[in-house]
Amino acid sequence: MFRSVLRALAEFAVMATILAGLAGPVSMAAEAGHELVVYSGRKEPLILPVIKAFEAETGIRVVLKSGGASELANAILEERNRPRADVFISNDAGTLEILRLRGVLAPNRSPKVAAIPREFRAADGAWVGVSGRARVIMYNVEQVTPKNLPKSILDLTDSRWKGQVAISSSQNESLIAQITGMRQTLGNKATEAFLAGLLRNQVRVLKDHTEVRKAVGKGEFQFGVVNHYYYHLEKEEGSKVGVIYPDQGEDQIGALVNVAGVGIVKGARNEEAARRFVDYLLMEKAQEEFANLNYEIPLLPSASAKAGVKSLKEFKRMKVNLDVLGQELNETLDLVEKVGLP
C-alpha cells in the first residue's frame, strides 16, 4: 500500500516536472526587469503612441499591461502587499479615487499636477486627470427634427421619446459617474425620479457605449446617452448623427466632465520613473496627443483640443469635484439597484 502511494506520487511528480520544464524557459524570458510597469484600462491604441514617445524621450522602458480598468483596479487591490504595477491609468476618476481611498495610490505634489484644475484631480494629487470626456446626448439626424431636440438630460423622460433612448448598462463607470454628478447637483430625490422616469419611458440598456453609438447611428434608437467622443467616432464612420451638450441654461446643471486619469501605485518599485511618466502626460504636447487620439478634451488650460471638439471653455460643465465619484460610488450604485436599472 505504502509503496504504491510512493510510486504514484513519483509518477505524478515526474509528469509535473516535465511540464514545468516546458513552461520554465518561457516564463524566464517573459519576466519583467526594472522597467516601468503600467496597468492601463485605456484602450491600447489610445495609449501606445504616448508611451512610445515617452520611451523615446526618456530612455525608460515601459511594460504595458492593458485590460479592463476595473479588473486591473481589483488586481492592484489584490496585489497590495506586494505591488507589481508602478502606474495605473483609468478611464474614470471614480475608479482612481476608490483606489486612493483604499490606500493603494501614492500622493503626488508635482507642480505639473497642481497645474490641472482642482476639480479634475485628487486633493493630494494621488491621481490626476489627463483628458476629459463630457457626457452628452447623441441623436440620429434623420429621425429627429432639430426643432424638437431635448435640451436637458431630464427631457429624456418625456413620453415623446418613449422607447427611443439607449443607454449603456449600469456596469459602465461613465454612466455611474453621470448619475453621481446628478445626485450632487439635483439631489437624490430628483435623480431617483429621473431614473425611474427613464425606465417608465422604456429606455433600452445596451452592453456598452460602442453598442449605443452604433444603434443610434443605424437609427435603431433616436437618442443615446454617451461620452462625447462616441458621437465623433460614429460620425467619423459616416453615420448621420448629431450631438447635444445638455443642461446648458442659466439655472441648469451643465454636462458632467469625467476624466481618464493616472495615479502612482503606493510602494511602486520604480517610483522615480513613475513620477516622470505622470509629469510627461501632463505636458502640453502629450496632453494634445493623448486627447487627440480619441477626440478627448485636454485638461491643461494651455493645451488645445482637436478641431471640431468643444474645449472646456465652450460649454457649461457640472460643478462637481471628481473625487466625489469615488466617495459616492456605493450610494449611487445603491440608488441604481433600488430603482432597478439593469
Binding site: M1, S4, V5, R7, A8, L9, E11, F12, L19, A20, L22, A23, G24, V26, S27, M28, A30, E31, A32, V37, K43, P45, V63, L64, K65, S66, G67, S70, E71, A73, N74, A75, L77, E78, E79, R82, R84, T95, I98, R102, S169, S170, Q171, R204, V205, L206, K207, T210, E211, A215, K218, G219, E220, L233, N330, L333, D334, E337, G340, P342
Partner: protein, 532 residues
C-alpha cells in the same frame, strides 16, 4: 481509520496510484473556491444584507430559466445529429462528425455579433425581406445560445454512440423490438451518460457566460457578480455570489452523477462486432435537410460573417505582421494548458467514472464545482495566492497556464469520465490477473479504450483555452498577447473589421485542432490489438 476509509470508498478502494493523484488534483483545483470562501468571509454582515435586498432572486431565476431552455434546445438539436453522424449511412457522415464541433470554436461574442448583424434590428435579414425576428427575445436568446453550445452534447454523444456495442441493438431486434423501439429502449439509454455529461457542460456554460448573453441584452446572475466586482470593487460581495454559483454547480453535478450511477453499463469491446449502420433509405433526404439546416445556422452563418469582416478588415488596414506572433502565443498557451489539464484530469475522471463512495463524490465535486466561477474571479484568486506565496512566478507564463488549467480542467474531466464509465472493469481485472501491474494495465487497457474521450476532452479544453479572455487579460506576462486578447482590444472599441483577422485565425486554428483530434481517434473497437 481503515474503517473510515472503507466507508469513504464505499467498500471498494481504488488503486492508490489513482486515488493519490486524483486527490492532489482536486486540492489544487479547489484553490479558487478557497479564495472565494476567504473573500466571502471578510465581507461581514453588511455585504450579505445589501445583497439580499437587491434583484438577486430575480437574476437567479432568469439565469436558471435560460439554462433550462438552452439545455433542452441543445439536446433536441444535438442528439438526432449525433445518432445520424455516428450510426447511419447519411451522406458525408465523416465530415459532419467534426463539422458539428465547429460552433464551439467561435468565441461567443463573435457568434452573438453575427446573429445580431444578420437577424437584429436593421440587420441583413430585415434589409432583404423586410422582416426580422426579435433576436433579443427570450426564445431567440435561448436558441442562439443552444446553437453555440450543442456540440458539447453532440461530441460526447457521438463518441459514445460510435463506441456502443452493436450486439445490444441486435439483441433488441431479435427480441422483436421495432427499429424505433430499439432506438428508444436500447440506443438512447446507452447514450444517456454521455448526453447527460454534455448537457451538464451546456448548463454550466450558460450559467457562467457573460459576454454573449450581455450582447443579446439578457441579464444573468453572472452579470450581478461582475457588477459587484467591477462596479463596486467589492471582492467580498462578488465572492459571496460566486459561492452561490459554485453551490448551484455542485448541486447540478451531484444530480447528474446520481442519475448516472443508477444506470451503469459497460461495453465489452472485445466481443463487440463492427457497428451495423442503420440504412436510412428515403429518410436520408429529410435527415440531410436537418443536418444542413443546423450547419447553416451554427457554422456557416458565423463563418461567413467572420470571413466578410476579415476581407473588409484586410482591405481597410492590411494584415499586421504581428498576427503570426499572437497566433503562436495562442497555440502554445492553449496547447500546454490542454495537455497539462488532460494529464491532471485523467486520474480524477478515472476515479469518478469507476469508483463510488463519499470520498469519490467529494473529489469529483471539488475538482469541478469551480467551473462556473467567472474568469475574473479565478484570475484574482491566482493573483492572491501566487503574489502572496509564490511571488517568483507572478506575471509569468506559468500562472497564465495555471489559470487556464484551473478554469477548464472540469470540462476535460467531464468528457473523460463519461467514456471511462463505459469501460468494463472486468477487462482491467483480467489484465491484472494476467500479471500486468496497475500502471501497465492502465496504459495498455484503460487508456486506449478511453482514447476517444481523452482526445475529445483535450480538444474541448484546447478550444476553450484559445478563446479564454478574462483570466488571460489579467494574468498574461506584459506584452504577451494572444489572438483572443487582440480581438478584445480591437472589438471593444467597435472596430469589428480590424478585430476580424485575429478572430478568423483563432477559429481556424481551433477548427483544425478539432478536426485532427476527432478524425485521429477511431473508436477502439475498430482497432486491432488493443484488446487485452
Amino acid at each position: 481509520m481503515n474503517k473510515l476509509l472503507r466507508w469513504g470508498w464505499a467498500g471498494r478502494p481504488p488503486q492508490p496510484s489513482i486515488a493519490v493523484p486524483a486527490a492532489a488534483v482536486a486540492l489544487v483545483v479547489v484553490l479558487p473556491l478557497i479564495y472565494v470562501l476567504y473573500r466571502a468571509a471578510t465581507g461581514g454582515l453588511t455585504t450579505w444584507q445589501r445583497l439580499l435586498t437587491t434583484r438577486l432572486p430575480q437574476l437567479l431565476l432568469s439565469s436558471l430559466s435560460l439554462t433550462v431552455a438552452v439545455v433542452v434546445a441543445a439536446l433536441v438539436v444535438a442528439l438526432p445529429l449525433a445518432w445520424l453522424a455516428a450510426r447511419t449511412d447519411i451522406p458525408g457522415r465523416r465530415t459532419w462528425r467534426w463539422l458539428f464541433g465547429l460552433p464551439l470554436v467561435f468565441p461567443p461574442y463573435v457568434g452573438a455579433f453575427s446573429y445580431i448583424t444578420v437577424f437584429g434590428p436593421r440587420g441583413v435579414a430585415e434589409k432583404l425581406t423586410g422582416w426580422s425576428p426579435d433576436v433579443y427575445s427570450f426564445p431567440a436568446v435561448a436558441l442562439v445560445m443552444a446553437l453555440f453550445t450543442f456540440p458539447y452534447i453532440f461530441l460526447l454523444a457521438a463518441a459514445a454512440l460510435e463506441n456502443a456495442d452493436g450486439t445490444l441493438e441486435e439483441a433488441g431486434r431479435l427480441l422483436g423490438l421495432s427499429p424505433v423501439q430499439v432506438l428508444w429502449r436500447v440506443t438512447l439509454p446507452l447514450v444517456r451518460p454521455a448526453a447527460a455529461a454534455g448537457a451538464l457542460l451546456v448548463a454550466l456554460y450558460v450559467l457562467s457566460d457573460f459576454g454573449a448573453v450581455t450582447m443579446l441584452r439578457y441579464s444573468t446572475f453572472t452579470s450581478a457578480i461582475y457588477l459587484q466586482l467591477v462596479g463596486r470593487y467589492d471582492r467580498s460581495a462578488a465572492a459571496v455570489l460566486s459561492g452561490v454559483l459554485a453551490v448551484l454547480t455542485a448541486a447540478l453535478l451531484w444530480g447528474e452523477g446520481h442519475a448516472r450511477r443508477r444506470i451503469r453499463f459497460y461495453q465489452v469491446s472485445g466481443s463487440a462486432r463492427p457497428l451495423p449502420k442503420v440504412l436510412l433509405g428515403a429518410w436520408r433526404w429529410p435527415a440531410s435537410l436537418w443536418v444542413i439546416a443546423v450547419c447553416a445556422l451554427s457554422v456557416a452563418l458565423p463563418g461567413i460573417m467572420l470571413l466578410y469582416w476579415t476581407v473588409r478588415g484586410v482591405a481597410e488596414a492590411g494584415l499586421s505582421p504581428d498576427l503570426a506572433r499572437y497566433f503562436a502565443n495562442s497555440l502554445f498557451t492553449a496547447g500546454i494548458a490542454a495537455t497539462l489539464a488532460t494529464l491532471l484530469g485523467l486520474p480524477v475522471a478515472y476515479l469518478s467514472g469507476r469508483h463510488r463512495g463519499p470520498l469519490v463524490t467529494a473529489i469529483s465535486l471539488l475538482s469541478r464545482c469551480g467551473y462556473v466561477l467567472p474568469g475574473v474571479v479565478v484570475a484574482l484568486s491566482l493573483v492572491f495566492f501566487v503574489n502572496r506565496f509564490l511571488p517568483v512566478f507572478y506575471g509569468t507564463f506559468a500562472v497564465l497556464v495555471a489559470a487556464l488549467v484551473l478554469r477548464f480542467l472540469p470540462q476535460g474531466v467531464q468528457a473523460m469520465e463519461a467514456v471511462v464509465a463505459q469501460i468494463p472493469p472486468s477487462l482491467e481485472e483480467a489484465s491484472r490477473t494476467l500479471g500486468r501491474n496497475s500502471w501497465r494495465t492502465w496504459r495498455g487497457v484503460t487508456l486506449p479504450l478511453a482514447a476517444p474521450g481523452v482526445t475529445a476532452g483535450w480538444a474541448l479544453m484546447f478550444i476553450s483555452a484559445m478563446k479564454e479572455l478574462p483570466a488571460t487579460l489579467l494574468l498574461r506576462p506584459a506584452g504577451f498577447d494572444t489572438l483572443a486578447v487582440r480581438v478584445w482590444i480591437d472589438a471593444s472599441e467597435g472596430f469589428y473589421n480590424a478585430a476580424a483577422p485575429a478572430a478568423l485565425l483563432l477559429v481556424a486554428a481551433s477548427g483544425l485542432a478539432l478536426r485532427y483530434t476527432l478524425s485521429g481517434s477511431a473508436p477502439p473497437n475498430r482497432r486491432k490489438g488493443d484488446q487485452p
